[in-house]
């Protein structure tokens, strides 16, 4: 018998990361391994440190201790825009769209990193700059079709209802063609129908583009349905890590959600 193939190397490794805000220990020695191509859900009660973890991964916060490796390279202290250049895109819990810009322009900003050429040359070289713009525009149109937002292309993002804003934000993140996509509560504030749509999009993105996705979500049925891997946080510590089925039956996780005293 041949030995089983070795597990694929982790895409993202968070190793003993701690973050402290004054007296609050937002993250305490959290380690997490995200495999290439999986959908990982990060769950936990409010204030557990989920968003902080996402902010550390995307470079908005820097950990006071611990390391972060992405595609095998250490990138613990990179700035957010350098993290984006590595192929990590994200959405925000409170939707951070460019409200005055059209949906199309919003999504086009997602392609800035893919656009070549210096600012100055861009202004001088009419032909190539225009061709490039058209090529990017074509890719953006594919994303627009994919997420079924053709009808609102020209609408200023700030005017859209919340559910659609979340979808546009996802489109903008996808436009960067990320290796790792971080979604901070992609379904918060949505009705059942919108949630189902969003679940479908997330699964399609993962299936069609092979994008690795890490998401924070509160709706347990959603988490159990779409994720391959679940990690639970509580009070800044990781309390569980495994398949959805394992985590759901984990007594520590159940206690954390039901609020057993931490005596």
């Amino acid at each position: 018998m041949r030995p089983a193939p070795p597990p694929p190397p982790a895409l993202l490794e968070v190793d003993g990361v701690s973050v402290r805000f004054g007296a609050v220990q937002a993250l305490d020695q959290v380690s997490l391994s995200v495999r290439r191509g999986e959908i990982i859900a990060i769950i936990g009660p409010n204030g557990a440190g989920k968003t902080t973890l996402l902010n550390v991964i995307s470079g908005f916060y820097h950990p006071s201790e611990g390391r972060i490796r992405f595609e095998g390279r250490d990138r613990t202290r990179l700035a957010p825009y350098d993290v984006a250049a590595l192929g990590i895109a994200r959405t925000f819990q409170n939707v951070a769209l460019f409200k005055g810009m059209s949906v199309l322009d919003n999504i086009m900003t997602g392609r800035l990193l893919k656009m070549k050429g210096s600012f100055l040359l861009d202004a001088l070289y009419w032909g190539p700059a225009k061709a490039q713009e058209l090529e990017h525009r074509a890719r953006v149109e594919r994303i627009i079709d994919f997420l079924e937002i053709q009808a609102i292309r020209k609408t200023p993002a700030g005017r859209l209802p919340y559910g659609l804003q979340k979808r546009v934000e996802l489109a903008r993140a996808l436009a960067a063609e990320p290796t790792l996509l971080l979604l901070d509560e992609p379904m918060a504030g949505m009705n059942v129908e919108e949630k189902e749509d969003m679940c479908r999009f997330i699964l399609d993105v993962n299936g069609e583009f092979g994008t690795t996705i890490a998401l924070i979500e509160h709706d347990m049925s959603v988490v159990m349905d779409i994720s391959d891997h679940v990690a639970a946080l509580d009070y800044g510590r990781k309390i569980a890590d495994g398949t959805p089925a394992e985590v759901r039956t984990d007594q520590v996780v159940i206690d954390a959600y039901l609020g057993v005293s931490h005596a």
Binding site: A79, Y81, A89, F92, F98, L112, D122, G158, R172
Partner: protein, 311 residues
């Protein structure tokens, strides 16, 4: 009846009967207007990129002119002095990003605005400390004299200033409207965090924009300085840029140009043809009254982004 005639008929009769003179007035107005546009552009650039109204823009004009004149007085040749001044303004942009903007990232816009007021006084003091406070003459080698084309008297200095302003304005318009930096700028102005998450290097953008605003300030400083001497009152031409911005819209490069032209020609024509009726000085208040009217009717300006608010 006589008053009505003098207000509504007389001036137009004068225009028609002396078309060459009208052309001279218009040219003077366009030239002045382009120079207002140049100052207004400095504001627009920074406002677009950071949503900050840069109170110090006028002083940046003064500071640039002072630096240039100061260097030339010490025997540095014109071209070298200009290059050095550009270097100083770019260094200033780096310093402002590092010392003022970076620590205040993600703060309210009003806080950044207050910071630029501080910057205003700092630069004013620094300029006077290094270069002295007396009025300086700026000689850029173009004589302040006139020539005639088809019977129309044209001032050489004004023409040069207008041409320079036109070229600069054109280059900037293309640079910011047609390139990816234009989109990056709007993105940064709209939401810092989101722009960061998309890989837009906020700091680089700020340095670029403040550098460009500094270079625009040099151009404005040279043109106004050559006309009226380099002195403290140069920083007050920023006040004239405000009505231009209100007319054109704070976020629009073409708006700054059109606004400047409207105000420049409007106040010249008002002064020449209607001035005698009210004892002159229309030039001093025309821009502000027009701006006030605009604020009542179209607060976003001619080309500004519509103010959309969900309620």
């Amino acid at each position: 009846m006589d008053l009505l005639y003098r207000v509504f008929v007389g001036p137009f009769q004068d225009m028609v009967t002396a078309p060459t003179f009208l052309a001279e007035v218009l040219i003077g107005g366009v030239a002045a207007g382009l120079m207002y546009s140049l100052v207004a552009l400095g504001f627009v650039l920074i406002f677009k990129a950071s949503g900050v109204f840069n109170f110090a823009q006028g002083v940046m004009v003064l500071f640039a002119a002072l630096t240039l004149v100061g260097l030339m007085e010490r025997g540095v040749p014109m071209v070298a002095a200009l290059a050095l001044t550009i270097g100083v303004m770019v260094a200033l942009a780096f310093a402002i990003e590092r010392v003022v903007l970076r620590p205040l990232v993600n703060q309210e816009h009003i806080i950044l605005f207050m910071a630029t007021i501080g910057l205003n006084f700092f630069l004013e003091g620094l300029g006077e400390m290094v270069w002295g406070a007396n009025v300086k003459r700026l000689d850029i080698g173009i004589p302040d004299e006139s020539f005639t084309v088809a019977g129309i008297l044209i001032n050489k200095l004004e023409m040069t200033a207008a041409a320079t302003a036109a070229v600069l304005v054109g280059v900037l318009a293309v640079f910011f409207q047609r390139t990816k930096i234009g989109r990056a700028l709007r993105a940064v102005a709209d939401d810092h965090e989101a722009a960061l998450s998309l890989g837009i290097p906020l700091r680089t953008i700020w340095v670029v924009v403040w550098s460009v605003a500094g270079i625009v300030a040099i151009a404005a400083g040279i043109m106004w300085g050559a006309k009226s001497g380099v002195q403290f009152s140069l920083s007050l031409i920023a006040l004239k840029a405000l009505p231009v911005l209100i007319l054109g819209g704070f976020t629009s490069v073409p708006g700054a140009i059109v606004g400047g032209l409207i105000i420049g020609t409007g106040e010249k024509i008002g002064e020449v043809y209607w001035g005698p009726l009210v004892g002159g000085a229309i030039e001093n208040w025309f821009a502000y009254v027009l701006a006030l009217a605009f604020l009542l009717v179209r607060p976003q300006g001619l080309f500004g982004e519509k103010i959309i608010e969900r309620v």
